[in-house]
Symmetry: C2
Subunit: 495 residues, 2 copies
């Protein structure tokens, strides 16, 4: 397979084609959009083992994981398609007019409409689920937006195969030319040009803080600023509360050894920070965790860049004052393998050293030893925005530490009790997002059908005759959508 | 009444107090928030005529208008309070866990939670409805956020009286100290410091493009960027389609003369641009409109700044090449009175001159004469984002000009048929917002209870025991809120 690179000069024509496609695609019915998404899922399956093998060769991910990830990607496409077709996400509000009132109240009907072409930068760590046909692409298509994917250079061939699957589905479903474009480039300038192009109306990105912030700044400096949904960094703090630790230190340690090393720690929800009270129970936790980490097997990381980054950031963290390495996997790692590692630091060291707040992307976790619950709360207030935060606590722990619980709630997008943060369920209730710098916009999720809402805006129709309104807003409610009519949710027709 | 000015140095203490209040207020029930808002409405009423008289002396607005505006402000507070208490806006999604599935599906429950302290910069043109206790303040309180109002210097005393009413209601309702702060300042630095303060989590602003963009940039350059909801500028284009014009040119002219001059043109939805086809019907429209404008009465504008700005921008627009003045109110204006004025320009002149796209805040409207419908569509594509756009058209006009209708829909937040854009109904279906530069964020409304959504973000609770969940998410649904449970909207309890 040869990879064709796109020049900066070609971006204008690509975006202009997407803009033309937008005006056709936005008017296609919810069912047409959904059928297109389902067709993409089918094409992904039709790619068979070839796709998995190419992905395996590019990413070092094991076959079983890639199989699961493709299945997840197909589920995302079909479940967002179902949500799209159902239409509840359109947030329809109707206030029927009152001609008799003085002054007369106009008839106003509001629904969400698509923003326009969406540029997607895929994730290194999810070659399927958060890349070319991943969550951003699926939610943009559901919203009614064309998509332009900038392929991740570390899995360019995988991306190319997926792009071909999307284009085949687009042709089979009579989608307009320009509904989907796929761009390979090894320079930053092409990405920059895509975000700066006036036809681009939103951006999805999963990757580093540096990359995400750079795109965010370009987008804000445009003549017309546009939203950037960048998922950037999270260390997913876990808080070990005293009563729970008294009964379950060993059990928690085993659970967390698995979470820290899962997928060579290459998940945005990897628990990189564990905060406990410095006592016997924490010692018990640390020694159990240490045994498990020492017995864990190093495994190849996604690519050279991620491996080098892990080596460097891990070494950097371990060499900070008052940081103590407590366990390293004992099996000698091969080249490009990430070594599972756990270290400890004092609360003071953590609070005085911003470097210890940074993500070490890989199977690494830092345990913070606090003197007491007061110090734990002080630590919490210093932690920046996170995708997730987890409490390991008994009912009493929760009830007796309201201030701490409130502080933790305030820094995260998903708040977990007595479980691990890895594993991001695709469902309506999922919020995969969080305060800055975990994402650029805490108000939107990247997982679950609510992700569609990133790519839409409301439009009110005032005083339009029924026959001229879009089907979604017509009196008859032909699509049987839940709508708020004069303040009340219903699927009823309007008399 | 003496106005106490706040120094930049005092901002930290004010915001820190707001941050402390946030942690108490966010946990108060929806009913407590709603009762507080209703109490504010009652206090506004209790201010009696004194408040109206002070506002009249500061803004030149007539008593009848101020009476109406206070009533509107009270309605906003009470209707957003009702919406707050009802809780449908919380967008609750619940996926109950499935322990038997492999791997087990966790129980996840999502709701919207408040962002934190909100800084509000009130509008010059609405001393009540979009100022101190206006839409931004009401929606922030409903969301669960403390509010810090920077008083508009042109109606500082009015703002002071309203602030006292809010503080009285806060005390009566046992609100925490810091729930509301009111700041007077005549320098830009205080506003800057408010937006830059790390405890500020969102900003509401209504005013000029320059002011809005300046705040937007400060907010984006913070270590933690925050959302700025700035409503800045709109010329609210009106499109006159041929069949409708053939039958109704005179009637439309009369309707629009009223809309152009309403409130001395000082509304963000004032129709500043009228686009027609250069033919007999348009001539008829122009001559009817001219008669009405010539007979219109100049009236005092809000303040010296707005008056000077009108004089300057009006003169600037009228002096552009190919712009022709067609009607000016004949009554000699007194000092500070805005003169109702209508002018025409060719489509070419409009398309070549960005100055003609700018808002002239006041009773001014520019009529663009297009050769034909094709040229009208070309003009449309050059128009920037708007709060509203209006079609004056018959059913045939709409059906035969799909491309034009689509292009117009794309640039506005509220799309009106055969009516005027002035008059912004407070209701669920209202979208008062629009693509940049009409606002900084087309995805949110400043009017109607959906305005609450500007000041919240989602939080998912994973694996929490029922008794530890907030009432909104408990199995019993004690607040009887509409919730999406396992994909289906209902008010049912979870068994």
């Amino acid at each position: 397979m040869t990879i064709q690179y796109t020049a900066v000069a070609a971006v204008d024509a690509i975006m202009s084609k997407a803009w033309q496609a937008f005006h056709i695609y936005r008017k296609m019915s919810l069912k047409q959009r959904a059928d297109f998404m389902r067709a993409i899922a089918k094409e992904l399956e039709a790619c068979g083992d070839e796709l998995l093998e190419v992905a395996m060769s590019e990413t070092n991910l094991p076959m079983a994981r890639l199989k699961n990830e493709r299945a997840r990607t197909m589920y995302q496409l079909t479940s967002y398609a179902d949500a799209c077709e159902k239409g509840d996400w359109l947030d329809i509000r109707i206030n029927t007019g009152v001609k008799e009132s003085i002054p007369a109240k106009p008839d106003i009907r509001k629904m969400l409409i698509p923003l326009g072409p969406v540029v997607v930068f895929g994730a290194a760590n999810f070659p399927f689920a958060y890349s070319t046909a991943g969550g951003d692409t699926a939610s943009a298509f559901a919203a009614g937006c064309p998509v332009i994917v900038k392929a991740h250079p570390e899995h360019a061939k995988t991306s190319e195969l997926v792009a071909r699957a999307i284009l085949k589905a687009a042709a089979d479903c009579y989608m307009p030319e320009g509904i989907f474009s796929h761009i390979h480039s090894e320079t930053f300038e092409v990405g920059q040009a895509l975000v700066a192009n006036s036809f681009t109306k939103a951006v999805g990105f999963t990757g580093s803080i540096r990359g995400g912030k750079a795109l965010y700044e370009i987008a804000n400096q445009r003549k017309e600023p546009i939203p950037v949904f960048a998922e950037m960094s999270s260390i997913n703090p876990v808080f070990l509360l005293p009563e729970k630790m008294r009964t379950s230190a060993t059990e928690i340690a085993e659970m967390y050894a698995g979470s820290i090393t899962l997928g060579v720690g290459q998940f945005c929800t990897n628990p990189g920070l564990i905060i406990g009270i410095d006592n016997e129970d924490l010692n018990k936790f640390i020694s159990s965790l240490s045994i498990a980490i020492k017995n864990a097997t190093p495994a190849a990381m996604l690519n050279t860049g991620i491996f080098k980054n892990y080596i460097e950031k891990r070494a950097n963290s371990l060499s900070q004052p008052d940081v103590e390495t407590v366990a390293v996997a004992e099996k000698e790692p091969l080249m490009y393998e990430g070594i599972p590692t756990v270290a400890t630091a004092t609360a003071t060291a953590f609070m005085n050293n911003p470097l210890l707040h940074q993500e070490v992307f890989g199977p690494y976790s830092l345990i913070i030893k606090c003197k007491d619950l007061q110090e734990m709360q002080k630590v919490t207030k210093q932690i920046e925005g996170q995708l997730t935060a987890t409490i390991m606590g008994s009912v009493n722990d929760i009830k007796e530490n309201e201030g701490l619980i409130d502080a933790v709630k305030n820094i995260c997008g998903r708040f977990i009790l007595n479980a691990v943060p890895t594993g991001v369920e695709v469902c309506e209730a999922m919020h995969h997002g969080g305060p800055f710098p975990s994402t650029t916009d805490s108000r939107f999720t990247a997982v679950g059908p609510d992700a569609i809402k990133r790519f839409v805006r409301p439009l009110s129709f005032q005083n339009w005759e029924n026959e001229l309104l879009p089907d979604e807003l017509k009196n008859e409610n032909p699509l049987a959508i839940w709508r708020t009519v004069n303040g009340e949710l219903s699927k009823n027709k309007i008399a």
